[in-house]
Amino acid sequence: MSARDKTISDDAISLSEKGHRQVIQVNIVRLVIYVLLGLLAIVSLIPFAMMIINATRTNGEILQGFTLIPSNALMENYDILISYVDVWRGFLNSLMIAVLVTLLNSYFSALTAFAFWAYNFKGKTFIFGFSLLLMMVPGQLSMLGQYELASNLGILNTYWPLILPAIAAPFTVFFFRQYLYTSMPYSIVEAARIDGARDLLIFHRIVLPVLKPAIATQGIFTFIGSWNNYMGPLIMIRTPSKFTLPVMMGALSGSPVANNLGAMYLGIAISVVPIMIAFMFFSKNIISSISSGAVK
């Protein structure tokens, strides 16, 4: 009996040793992965950290080299910055344009996608194909035409040529249409019709809520696209007080502010940080709306 017991316990020991070894191996693999991920995180965060820290340092300090310790020249830099440009005015300009662009883009693209999805009409395939074709034309190519159009309409140096074209967004239409095809059975529209809803009401009360996750996802890209848009406002806007942030920052490089790197960094931080915070907040929202809006 005892001999038998011994073999069993020996087996148990060797088994547990083997298991132990496996656990250590797994931990080493994990460690390597975490170190690599940590390095990646540092590499991508350092420019932002540098930007924010440098915004608090004087020109002289910045020229001396890089440090992770913030200095105390923030207010000084701010005073220099706003003595040349009205950075908050630029912020408001950018925000207003980006919000309007996002709203218009989402609403009208959803409306167009709804039409492509719900109705059969003559030339539907052609129109849809043509709009897909337009996706392949680079935006810069249409700038010339847009400038001419805006000039003829007399809306140069206003925000209209920056906002209105957002209504026609082939990619957003394509994305929403695909979303509808995959996540919404057409019989829901028929059920709503029988329930007594007219088509525009069906769009507002049924289709838009179902599209919410898609709108949130696409909305972020549209918003950031508009916020970072440099070419458009640069061409269409002439009055400095109407400048958007990117154009304002671009204009700084030729101004005396360019001699004060701290102020320059502060301007850039102001143009980036609020959006980063907003994005972090919304991305959480988007994930939850995607998972709760699941259509079966």
Partner: protein, 378 residues
């Protein structure tokens, strides 16, 4: 409370050459439960959707009560429809799903609540009113879809294969629920299915369709026992009716392994209509092929020796695939006789229950009066 009349209804889809529905004529009585049944693509759903107003009517007139409603919008027809995929509004709670139609009709809030609560109670949804469709099981979703129709108290209930997405057990359960619902609501119901069991169990009258054409309209008893043609005979009933080409001559039918005397009323009609010496389709239901001793003794002239090729036990009954001298037939017999594959077995044909169809038209040669069916059954 509504009567529906379909007069010479035709439907042809855009870009299609053939009619999807041809010359559909039907009068549906108030409070009647009508089931459209047929194989896929037979036009049954299309007809239902035309009644709902979701498809245009190419030709013909549709009446709800006294009015032609061809050009009336679905919302103004006072109908409710239950879809196969439920078609619930995914972002709304069960309560809002049911209340949506009432809100659009500007009904006072307390009345909406009263109606929804009543329907929820009737369908066992009271505890689920705050949930969204994604958090419901298939059966619960189906009940919400029914509830959405119930709260409207429409003139007509339309159901398009409402049980097809449910598993077998739940389907049987919901079938009973729907029958109960019809009894409680006393509303005209039109129900589309490809499942002949659902059709038989639910319907006051069944409309059997194939290739866009009505094949027969009648009570479940009538379409089962007195089919108009070979299609109806084979479509209604499971296992399907045995149908075989035989030659009729001198009051007997003969075919591969078959040599049987035709019973009197059918024989008279076959003679009168000049089928002597011609090929006809002989039809006999599996349960009219008997293996019990008493049947063998009663009609010794119809007894044939057969070999069982496959025996399927379904519980109370056995489905036997038998070889009758080279002709494959299906018989349903009492499971307690314990038949096994490979056995030889004597069977007797109840020739009073035999059906005969024309080979060319597949139409029934002698339409059995219901009284006769009842008599021969007892």
């Amino acid at each position: 409370m509504a009567e529906i009349k379909l007069k010479h209804i035709h439907k042809r889809y855009e870009n299609a050459e053939d009619f999807a529905v041809t010359d559909f004529n039907l009068d549906i009585q108030d409070n009647e439960f009508i089931v459209f049944v047929g194989p896929s693509g037979c036009g049954k759903s299309t007809t239902l959707r035309m009644i709902a107003g979701l498809e245009e009517i190419t030709e013909g007139d549709l009446y709800i009560d006294a009015d032609v409603v061809n050009d009336v919008a679905p919302k103004d027809r006072d109908i409710a429809m239950v879809f196969q995929n439920y078609a619930l509004y995914p972002h709304m709670t069960v309560f809002d799903n049911m209340a949506f139609g009432l809100k659009l009709r500007k009904m006072p809030k307390d009345e909406i609540k009263e109606r929804v609560d009543h329907a929820a109670e009737m369908l066992g949804l009271t505890d689920l009113l705050d949930r969204k469709p994604a958090a419901l099981s298939g059966g619960q979703r189906q009940r919400v879809a029914l509830g959405r129709a119930v709260v409207r108290s429409p003139k007509v209930f339309l159901m398009d294969e409402p049980l097809s997405n449910l598993d077998a057990k739940l389907r049987v359960h919901m079938r009973t629920e729907i029958a109960k619902l019809h009894e409680e609501l006393e509303t005209t119901m039109i129900y589309v299915t490809h499942d002949q069991t659902e059709a038989m169990t639910l319907a006051d009258r069944i409309v059997i369709m194939e290739a866009g054409v009505i094949q027969q309209v009648g009570s479940p008893f009538e379409v089962y026992n007195s089919p108009n043609n070979a299609f109806v005979a084979s479509f209604i009933g499971s296992p399907a009716m045995n149908l075989h080409e035989v030659t009729y001559s001198q009051g007997r039918i003969t075919g591969k392994g078959i040599d049987l005397a035709v019973s009197e009323p059918s024989r008279k009609e076959l003679d009168e209509k000049g089928y002597e010496g011609k090929t006809v389709i002989f039809g006999i239901r599996p349960e009219d092929i008997h293996s019990e001793q008493i049947a063998l003794d009663t009609t010794p002239e119809t007894v044939v020796e057969t070999t069982i090729t496959v025996a399927e036990l379904t519980g109370a009954e056995s489905i036997l695939y038998i070889d009758v001298g080279g002709t494959e037939m299906v018989a349903v017999v009492d499971a307690r006789d314990f038949h096994q594959a490979g056995e030889t077995m004597e069977v007797a044909f109840n020739m009073n229950k035999a059906h005969f169809f024309d080979v060319e038209t597949e139409e029934v040669i002698r339409k059995k009066p219901i009284e006769e069916v009842v008599e021969t059954t007892i």
